[in-house]
C-alpha cells in the first residue's frame, strides 16, 4: 500500500518539474551558445561593420568573406592565412595523439596489472609531471631539444607533447584498467601468456573506451596548445594553427571579423570531434576511465 501511494505521488511530483527541467536546460544552453553566436555573426561582418557597441546585431549580409580571408590570408592587408598552419596542426596532433595514447596504455597496463614494489610511488612521481607550469621549463626544454636535434621541427613538437602527455594518459588508462578484474589476467597467466601476450589478447581489445577518452582529450589539448607551439617550432612555416591564429590579431590594430572567423575555423576540427564522438567519450567515461 505504502509503495503504491509513494510511486504515485513521486510520479506526480515529477510532472511539473519536467517543464522546469526543460526550461532550465534551455536557459543553460543559451549561456553556452552565446559565445558561438558572437563568433559567428562577427565572423560574417565586414571590418567596417564590426562595432563593439552593436555586437549583438546580425550582420547586414551573411558573407563568408572574412572566413575566406582568414583561411587564405591577404597580401593586400599583409597577413598570412591559416591554411598552411592547419596542415601543420594535423601533422602534429594526429601522430602525437596516437603515440601518447599507446604510451599511456602501456604504462597504465603495467602500473595497474603488474604491480611491483614501489610501482605506486612511481605512478605518483609520473603523475606529478602533470602539475608543473610549462612557462618555467621553456629554457631548459629548448636547450635539451637542441642537443637532441629536435628543436624547431614538428617531430620535436610531437615529442614534447608525447612526453608531457604521459602523466594524464597514464592516469586515465591506469584507472580504466583497474576496473578490469584481475582474475582475467590471472587466468591468462595460468594459460601461459606473458606480459605482452596478455596485453595483446586481453587488454588491448577491451581498451577502446579508454582509447576514445584519451585520444579525444589529447587531440583537443594538443590541437589547442599555444605555448609549446610558439616556442618549440619558432619558424612560421612549421607552426601550428593556434600560433597563426594568434598572429592574425596583429600587434596594434585588430581586424575582429577576421580574427573571430579564424577562431571558428581553427576550432572546427575539435568541435567536430566532440560532436561526432561525444557519445563514445561518454561511454568511455562510463567504463570507469575517469574515476577519481
Amino acid at each position: 500500500m505504502t509503495t503504491l501511494t509513494q510511486t504515485r505521488s513521486s510520479n506526480q511530483l515529477r510532472q511539473w518539474p519536467r517543464l522546469a527541467i526543460y526550461l532550465l536546460l534551455i536557459l543553460f544552453a543559451i549561456f553556452y551558445l552565446l559565445p558561438i553566436y558572437v563568433l559567428l555573426i562577427t565572423g560574417m561582418k565586414s571590418f567596417a561593420e564590426v562595432n563593439l557597441y552593436k555586437m549583438w546585431d546580425l550582420p547586414a549580409a551573411f558573407s563568408l568573406d572574412s572566413f575566406a580571408k582568414a583561411w587564405f590570408g591577404s597580401d593586400a592587408e599583409g597577413f598570412r592565412g591559416l591554411s598552411g598552419n592547419f596542415w601543420n596542426s594535423v601533422q602534429l596532433a594526429v601522430p602525437a595523439t596516437i603515440l601518447s595514447a599507446l604510451l599511456g596504455s602501456m604504462n597504465g597496463y603495467v602500473l595497474s596489472k603488474w604491480k611491483f614494489r614501489g610501482s605506486n610511488t612511481l605512478f605518483l612521481l609520473l603523475l606529478f609531471g602533470m602539475f608543473i607550469p610549462y612557462q618555467s621549463i621553456l629554457i631548459p626544454l629548448v636547450q635539451v631539444l637542441q642537443k637532441i636535434g629536435l628543436y624547431g621541427t614538428i617531430p620535436g613538437l610531437i615529442f614534447v607533447h608525447v612526453v608531457y602527455g604521459i602523466p594524464i594518459t597514464t592516469l586515465i588508462f591506469r584507472n580504466y584498467y583497474a576496473t578490469v578484474p584481475t582474475e582475467m589476467v590471472e587466468a591468462a597467466k595460468i594459460d601461459g601468456a606473458n606480459i605482452l601476450g596478455i596485453y595483446r589478447h586481453i587488454m588491448f581489445p577491451i581498451s577502446m573506451p579508454g582509447f576514445v577518452v584519451v585520444m579525444i582529450w589529447q587531440f583537443t589539448s594538443i590541437w589547442n596548445d599555444f605555448l609549446f607551439g610558439v616556442i618549440v617550432t619558432s619558424r612560421p612555416g612549421v607552426q601550428p594553427i593556434t600560433v597563426a591564429l594568434n598572429n592574425l590579431a596583429g600587434s596594434y590594430i585588430v581586424a575582429w571579423n577576421i580574427q573571430m572567423a579564424g577562431a571558428l575555423l581553427a576550432a572546427l576540427p575539435t568541435m567536430v570531434i566532440y560532436i561526432l564522438l561525444g557519445q563514445f567519450f561518454m561511454r568511455g567515461l562510463l567504463a570507469g576511465s575517469l574515476k577519481g
Binding site: I21, L24, R117, L141, A178, A263
Partner: protein, 335 residues
C-alpha cells in the same frame, strides 16, 4: 603492521605465475626462472622496460627541469648570460614583498575557490538535469560539451568581448548591452574593468569552458548508479532530494575528488585564458602567477625571479595535490 601485510599480498600473488610458467612447456620462450630469484621474472623485466622510457622522459623533462628551475631561483640570473651566483632566499623574499605578486596570489586563491565551486555545481546540476531521461538529451549534451573543444585563446577573445562593459560615454556593450535589451539592466557592472571584480570575470569564462567536462563525469557517474539503489531508498520513504543527498552524492564523491584535482591544477596554472581575455587588468586585478612568470622571465629577463615564481607555484600545487594522491593510492592498495 597491517600496511606491511598489504604490501606483501601482491608479492605472494606473483609467485604463482612463475610456478605455473615453470611447469608449462610450449608458450614460454624464455628460461623458467629459479624460485629464488622470482623478483626478476622476465615478465617483470619486460614490465619495467615498458615503462622505462616514460620514467626516463619524466625524470629528465619534469624532475630534471624542476631541479634546474629550483636551482635558478636561488641565483642572481637576470639577463641572457646565466649568472649562477647564489643569493639564498632573497628572490623569494623580494617576491613576497612585491605588490604585483601579492595580488597574484590573492587572485589565484579567489579564482581557484570560485572556479571549483561554480564548475562543480554547474556540472552537477547539468548532469542531474540530463539524467532525467529527457528528450533531446544528446543535443543538450553536445551543447554543454563542445566548449571543451575550443582553445583557451579563442575563449579569451570571445569573453573579452562579452564581458566588456562599454562605457558611460559610448554606451554599453557585451552582456551589459544584452541585459539592457532584455530588461535586466540592473545586472550591469564593470566586469574585468572593475578592479574589485577582475579575475572573477575570468572565472565565468573558465567555467563556461570546463563545466561540460565536469558534467560529463557526473553524468557517467550517475548512470553508473543502479536504479535499484534509488528505488530502494524511495521505498524506504525518502523523497527525491533525500535520495540525492544521502545516496547519490556520496557515491559521486570519487568523481568530485577527481574533478577537483583536474580543475584545481588547471586553475593554478591558468595562463592562456588570462592573457587573451584580460591581460593583467587594472591594478593587476586579473593578473596570475603564471603570467607574471612569463612576463618577468621573457620581457624583463629576470630568469631568477621567474624561477622563484615557478617554485612557489609548484609548492602550492604539491601542498594541495600530493596528500590527495597519496591518500587515493593508499585507499586503492587497501581494497
Amino acid at each position: 603492521m597491517p600496511g606491511c601485510l598489504a604490501l606483501q599480498k601482491p608479492e605472494i600473488a606473483m609467485a604463482d605465475p612463475s610456478a605455473s610458467l615453470s611447469s608449462t612447456l610450449v608458450r614460454s620462450t624464455y628460461v623458467a626462472p629459479k624460485r629464488r630469484s622470482r623478483f626478476l621474472t622476465s615478465d617483470r623485466i619486460i614490465a619495467f622496460l615498458l615503462i622505462a622510457p616514460s620514467l626516463l622522459a619524466i625524470a629528465i623533462f619534469v624532475y630534471g627541469f624542476i631541479a634546474f628551475t629550483g636551482f635558478a631561483s636561488f641565483t642572481k640570473w637576470n639577463s641572457l648570460i646565466p649568472d649562477f651566483t647564489l643569493v639564498g632566499i632573497s628572490n623569494f623574499q623580494k617576491l613576497l614583498d612585491t605588490t604585483r605578486f601579492q595580488i597574484d596570489l590573492r587572485n589565484t586563491v579567489t579564482f581557484t575557490i570560485l572556479f571549483l565551486i561554480l564548475c562543480l555545481s554547474l556540472g552537477l546540476i547539468l548532469a542531474v538535469l540530463l539524467d532525467q531521461r529527457i528528450r533531446g538529451e544528446a543535443i543538450f549534451r553536445n551543447i554543454f560539451l563542445f566548449p571543451l573543444a575550443v582553445s583557451y585563446i579563442v575563449t579569451g577573445v570571445v569573453w573579452r568581448w562579452l564581458l566588456n562593459p562599454g562605457s558611460a560615454e559610448l554606451g554599453a556593450t557585451g552582456v551589459n548591452l544584452l541585459f539592457d535589451k532584455i530588461g535586466l539592466g540592473f545586472l550591469k557592472n564593470g566586469w574585468y574593468t572593475d578592479p574589485n571584480i577582475g579575475i572573477k570575470a575570468v572565472v565565468l569564462a573558465a567555467t563556461w569552458q570546463m563545466s561540460g567536462y565536469v558534467m560529463a563525469m557526473y553524468l557517467a557517474g550517475l548512470r553508473g548508479i543502479s536504479d535499484d539503489l534509488r528505488e530502494a531508498a524511495r521505498v524506504d520513504g525518502a523523497n527525491e532530494f533525500q535520495v540525492y543527498r544521502h545516496i547519490i552524492l556520496p557515491l559521486l564523491q570519487p568523481i568530485t575528488l577527481g574533478a577537483v584535482i583536474i580543475l584545481g591544477h588547471m586553475s593554478l596554472k591558468i595562463f592562456d585564458l588570462v592573457v587573451s581575455m584580460t591581460g593583467s587588468g587594472p591594478g593587476f586585478s586579473s593578473d596570475v602567477p603564471a603570467f607574471y612568470m612569463f612576463d618577468t622571465t621573457f620581457r624583463g629577463n629576470n630568469f631568477a625571479q621567474g624561477a622563484g615564481i615557478a617554485v612557489i607555484l609548484l609548492v602550492m600545487v604539491a601542498v594541495l595535490i600530493v596528500p590527495y594522491l597519496i591518500y587515493s593510492t593508499r585507499t586503492e592498495a587497501e581494497t
